[in-house]
């Protein structure tokens, strides 16, 4: 039972990840509702390119989408991290799994910001 060794050390990552997963989940529910309203219920041509560009000129709208991007990327990659850590493979490679998924989260978020800023 060597795997039980070190279990008494205090860790902040897991509780923080669990709380942020719930917070990002709640944020997603609200922000996706806003996204769906804006793109499908507000006007008939909301997805036309010029309208998308027009919306992205608004700082408030950009802020909402940046928050949505942050919530989506964190929720997705932290979820994958939790799934991998649910296995013995994940337990054996915990540090690598944490770093890899965190890097993927940062990369996906940065790529999303890049795309948004190019609109």
């Amino acid at each position: 039972m060597d795997e039980l060794e070190g279990m008494h050390t205090r860790r902040v990552l897991e509780p923080a990840a669990w709380i942020l997963q719930m917070v990002s989940g709640l944020l997603l529910a609200a922000l996706i509702a806003i996204h769906l309203y804006v793109t499908h219920f507000s006007t008939h041509d909301a997805l036309a390119y010029e309208n998308v560009v027009e919306r992205f000129r608004d700082a408030g709208f950009k802020a909402i989408y940046t928050l949505l991007l942050l919530a989506v990327t964190f929720h997705a990659f932290n979820g994958v991290r939790a799934i991998v850590l649910d296995t013995d493979f994940g337990a054996k490679n915990r540090r690598a799994v944490n770093w890899l998924l965190m890097l993927l989260f940062v990369a996906a978020f940065a790529y999303g910001i890049l795309l948004m800023s190019s609109v």
């Binding site: 795997e3 205090r10 897991e14 669990w18 939790a82 649910d86 296995t87 337990a91």
Partner: protein, 237 residues
């Protein structure tokens, strides 16, 4: 009337199914059926039992896919003329229905399942007063008999062998909820690791199969919230 006991056996190398026809009488328990086989049909059948009254937690087996205590399950209550009896899941099988509980008890031990006091004085012991309300807050969780039924159905324990599991976390919560205990800090740390409360998927099957209705799923959720709050407090303060 005879009931077929179809038992999954393991001889150390291979596992196989073997059927026995057991004459049953009204009120006969599964454990009595197993003893009948051992005494009359096949003396090599191995199973674990001790108190025969649902207290020691030794005789948990899987019957028709569901873990039960053999001693307190009447054959008639299963309502089937053929019983598929197997060792409980998520434990290494030693022989036939006997499983290895070493890891299970190591995990239990890791959460320090005993009252921790800063003022322990065995020469002059003092009574620790508790109100009925304070006792009620942990009483249900203190009924665990460590039979392993909850652990055997836990999907998180099935995929990750070092996961503490519902029984150990329930034991931790039993003492954290106890007003007399002063070892909360140590227990939070024991369950806070990535093999602790965070691995629970809240399938709640542990509560479903618990023969003592301890509600381990409830204990794990309470433990998880309390541990998260504790961790936040630690960071802020």
């Amino acid at each position: 009337m005879k009931v077929i006991f179809n038992i999954r056996r393991f001889d150390g190398e291979k596992d196989y199914w073997q059927s026995f026809a057991v004459p049953v009488f009204r009120g006969m328990t599964l454990l009595e059926g197993l003893f009948y086989i051992k005494e009359n049909l096949d003396g090599s059948l191995a199973f674990r039992a001790s108190c025969r009254m649902g207290v020691c937690g030794s005789c948990a087996v899987k019957v028709n896919g569901k873990p039960v205590l053999a001693c307190e399950t009447q054959i008639s209550s299963v309502n089937s003329s053929k019983l598929d009896i197997e060792p409980i899941d998520n434990f290494r099988v030693i022989k036939d229905l006997v499983t290895d509980f070493e890891g299970f008890f190591r995990k239990h031990e890791a959460v320090k399942p005993y009252l921790i006091r800063n003022d322990d004085n065995y020469e002059n012991p003092v009574e620790l007063i508790q109100t009925p309300k304070q006792m009620k807050s942990y009483y249900t969780f203190s009924l665990c008999i460590k039979c392993g039924a909850c652990y055997s159905v836990c999907p998180a324990a099935a995929t990750r062998s070092d996961y503490l599991g519902p029984a150990a976390i329930t034991a931790a919560w039993r003492f954290i909820a106890d007003s007399r205990d002063e070892g909360k800090e140590e227990r939070y740390e024991a369950v806070c690791g990535d093999n602790g409360v965070w691995r629970c998927h809240f399938a709640a099957e542990c509560s479903e199969v618990c023969p003592k209705k301890v509600e381990p799923a409830k204990a794990v959720q309470k433990m998880r919230i309390r541990t998260a709050l504790h961790a936040i407090k630690k960071v802020i303060l």
